[in-house]
Assembly symmetry: C2
Homo-oligomer: 347 residues x 2
Amino acid sequence: MSNPTIRNVAKAAGVSIATVSYVLNDSRPVGEETRQRVLRAATSLGYRANVTARNLQASKTRLFGYTWRPSPPDQFNPILDRFLQAMAEAAARHGYRILTFPTITLEEELATYEEMVLIGQVDGFVLSNTNQDDPRVRSLLDIGFPFVAFGRANPDWDFPWVDVDGTAGVRQATEHLIQRGHRRIACLAWTEESLTGQFRLQGYRTAMADAGLPVDPRWTERIGNTHANAYAGARQFLSLPADIRPTAVIALTDLMAIGVINAAWDAGLEPGRDLAVVGFDDAPIARFLRPPLTTLSQPIAEVGERLVTTLVDICNERFLKERHVLLQPELIVRASSAVLDDDRVTR
Amino acid sequence: MSNPTIRNVAKAAGVSIATVSYVLNDSRPVGEETRQRVLRAATSLGYRANVTARNLQASKTRLFGYTWRPSPPDQFNPILDRFLQAMAEAAARHGYRILTFPTITLEEELATYEEMVLIGQVDGFVLSNTNQDDPRVRSLLDIGFPFVAFGRANPDWDFPWVDVDGTAGVRQATEHLIQRGHRRIACLAWTEESLTGQFRLQGYRTAMADAGLPVDPRWTERIGNTHANAYAGARQFLSLPADIRPTAVIALTDLMAIGVINAAWDAGLEPGRDLAVVGFDDAPIARFLRPPLTTLSQPIAEVGERLVTTLVDICNERFLKERHVLLQPELIVRASSAVLDDDRVTR
DNA sequence: CCCAGGGGGTTAAACGTTTAAGCGCCATGA
DNA sequence: TCATGGCGCTTAAACGTTTAACCCCCTGGG
């Protein structure tokens, strides 16, 4: 029933438990003959050190906590699968595992973090979807507990984060559209409190400005991240007078891009030909849409990996080479961002 | 730095550590005055019992292990988000948490299960995507370690599982199509080794037989679960002679249904009008497809909840009311399964 | 008056490790 | 010949709980 303990191994090898420990961790030199005896005993019994006892002794758990807000039925999380796998894999390489716990309300979530710290359930946390002045970041910073964040929160707060450069990504997407002949480009953005949304919108504005293109205020809609909102926003764009109606729309997520595509179809347009659409995330579905969606692919696996290795370094009080990592998304060009056909636009 | 221990509370309350433990767990009656003193000391110090020490003492971890195969870039996992949340939430209600660990090859996965059992990292496992004669089930059964499975494996193996009734689901979908006037219905199935695939295919066959409809062998394609395979399979269907060409296709997943829809468009047909399509899973994207996809929604939250509560019962050696739970999927009717328009079909 | 029993607390062992401190022995150098 | 030091191992404490066993004192019944 119960697994063999270090005591069983010690007895089998005819040595003390300390010797067994020293041999197995080789934390101190042990005579070769004894060493072999211990090793043989351990393998023949199939001994593995109990993780709880080890954790108690070391006052560590080798566990990292992670939670995320569940997507409502009309939204989806395009990165969860890869993100969790990447984190779990990187963690495993360093002897850690990922603990997932449920998220309900924000207050409950904050209480849960504190509780888990107090009872010593994890050695650190990974946060994602951080917002401007994120209270979770503030709280963990205040109690001085190890954590890393996927996303920034406040430039004045000093904490380790990894993020994807949304500004550069959207700038690149905008330049791509400009290069394909588009001049009237709209941006379906997020509401103001989203820091990530700010960064991405910034990329659009920078690219337009750098190209010397005017930006009509009606070309920017600030909405929540749902298909319905995006659909309505796109209809707004398409109902503008012909001379200022956008020929391309950049959506800050693939979900919103899908809303734009559907609005275009329903308006009798063929997205990809009559209206260019660009998304963000490279959700698995993006390549199978009609038309296949041009979008920005986030290096999620690398984000997960960098976050976890940073957290491992923090927990082992190692020096951090980089406290802040900004990774570049990659523009995946598909059919939804075709070359502008002037005849159609001006018809 | 370090959290208060039971010793600190004992000193502050002027009692022994045993008394503190008895009060906090009320595992033995303690004089009212002392009780209050202990309680006050505990709250004023912000004491919470250390989970590792407690686990060591109890030889439990209150952790359940879960892993899943990462989706390749051209596939997606439509249920992971809700499934994990449901499990984490149900687990939390019983004082458990979910541990995720990475999956590489099958052999490594089996070795990881054994390793985690040996080092006592978890109290039980949740398996999903079980196959016919699943070696993970066999292995855990052999070593007698607590686990539950989402999915069946072998009728002769006695282990607790929860599953969604794919047979009933696909039968219902087939009947729905028949009721809408379809007679030539095809099924895009999985390869033979998938038990889930067998069950679902069975539903199609049963419904057709019950309705007295003949089934042409060319109406069943057995393929792996990818868009490309589904696309090719649908082209096969559509290239059949007009008098046996199916007017409706049932795909065993939404991903495959998307392949069918795209093949239909590319063949110059309008899916939902010229070709009915039904999927399985009700992936978040299903409602936003063109046409919106009729599909079978799995009660994922309930599956996760039932699995976890069963596992909790097993770990606490409680009697299981039900070792096997078969939940019903719900047919979500959307525009992709329109009424058959005879004129179009026979034109 | 004495003993049984119970209320209210304490002591100490146990869970399975890691690791600091100690101990015996042998070789080496003064 | 004797201190010194190093090698090779053991003893025991510590991590923070839970809980069985025990102890003291008071009360009530025989």
